[in-house]
Symmetry: C2
Subunit: 284 residues, 2 copies
Amino acid sequence: MFAIGTVERDTGISRDTLRIWERRYGFPTPGRNNKGERVYSAEQIQRLQRIRRLLDQGFRPGKVVPLEDEALNKLANTLHDLLLSPTDMDPTHIRLIDLASSGDIPALNAALEQLLAQEGLSSFVLDTFAPLTKAVGELWAAGRLQIFEEHILTRHLVRFLDVAMSRVGHPPGNPEVLLGTLPGEPHALGLLMAEALLINSGRATLNLGTDVPLDEIVTAAERSGVSTVALSFSGCYTRNTIRDDLEELAERLPRAVRIWIGGDGVRRLRRLPPSVEIMSLESI
Amino acid sequence: MFAIGTVERDTGISRDTLRIWERRYGFPTPGRNNKGERVYSAEQIQRLQRIRRLLDQGFRPGKVVPLEDEALNKLANTLHDLLLSPTDMDPTHIRLIDLASSGDIPALNAALEQLLAQEGLSSFVLDTFAPLTKAVGELWAAGRLQIFEEHILTRHLVRFLDVAMSRVGHPPGNPEVLLGTLPGEPHALGLLMAEALLINSGRATLNLGTDVPLDEIVTAAERSGVSTVALSFSGCYTRNTIRDDLEELAERLPRAVRIWIGGDGVRRLRRLPPSVEIMSLESI
DNA sequence: AATTTATTTTGTCTAGGACAAATAAAACTT
DNA sequence: AAGTTTTATTTGTCCTAGACAAAATAAATT
């Protein structure tokens, strides 16, 4: 049995939200310990994680949280069929995904190495690596991957790109593009793919990685003299303040600095500050 | 001006703690917006971050939170002098730290490459990389590094070890040791060093990375059939439940599986379950 | 079909108190 | 003097129930 703080950490759903879901939707239904505090069962946590994944895919709490286990499974399956229908997928990708979901990391690495050698870094990132990343995310959303499997895969993908970039070598000169994600955004692969493309086209980068407070981005941009700040937002970025953050960033950065944003989390955004531009990997 | 949620994210101090510090120690002293909600200035956030670093070093809130800016600076300086007195340090390390804190990444990489070639991976990790990591942490704790500088350094160190490991290649066969950190622990370098030493001695590993829920560790250990689970805890692991977590882990893992724990966060621990063993990098 | 306006949904924040785990200090024993 | 147990202090997490605004959807208008 787990306390609310543990559930918050393991599911990424805040205490406040957990309590208010209980009041509004009748789920979760924690028991109480002798202190009167909520205690959650492992099953409820698992269901919360499944709900979380569906929310990340764009569903709304009111339609998902009250659902029973069965209905939830059905929804996840529908999603799975929708997203991962093998008919319209490249057979090479299907093979990679099979290797990934079977956990055969050495074979996956070998296959990736071969594709990298054939296609060159830029095409590899755009045509192979990015779709594979997307597929992993969708497998995960559909509940076809355990959390630990997703961890392992992501780690290996990160390592693979790191090694590939180290072969190209870092372009000389001052960095032109600063990369990072805001606090609360843990996904680094989008940044890494962007960095690989930039490096491969001869532009020096400064990758701050994930979870960088806004004022540190400003300081880093000023110090390093970059001309562009690139931020990545995945679908799971729940913070409701992206627009405010971007406005603040645009205001505090030196005038000449452009802001690029990308990732699944930016689709819903409208009315951006003038210096902010939505970028895709292809347009780098 | 920033809301309490933002401050929580950027400082890692929970809302509840922020409110209770205000009540008990008279700091922080946020203003209020028109909704009656707390708003924190950038200066207060900076001071909170400095306080956080001192707490990570083992200071207690009652002695640190009420301090004025001046006293805080003084304490940080004393700490800096204490931890990083150059007299008792290897000149090679001093040079590396200089390169690191000056932000000259290419030069740092070159120096690391040279030392790696000279010493071999195991000695390099133990005698160069680990002390450098520690020094970076201490520079950061003493306020000598900006957050973004620490981010950049850490990223490059991770990348460097990843590349070094990829040269050694992954040992064949089933993994023997599973590595990971529990939710709330973001530092991956300890794991990575352990992994490098294991790989270099021919033992296959399975690195789950950071922030892995406990039940996922159990599942992963069962599926992969490892004989050891290795967890890393840095000084900033504030979760008060390490012992409970370890007890639960020991109970749920297969009997034959040993648990290794390491890192700065385990020094304070006593009365561990019988299958749990405190390990240092040297003893791997 | 594209804007504007109304309605619903949703997450974050507020208050002060309660409690136990963790740590430090004191008392005791060997 | 060093180790162990007992007492006191410190500290973080959790509780309740309500309020409010931003985001998303539905409805109405141009």
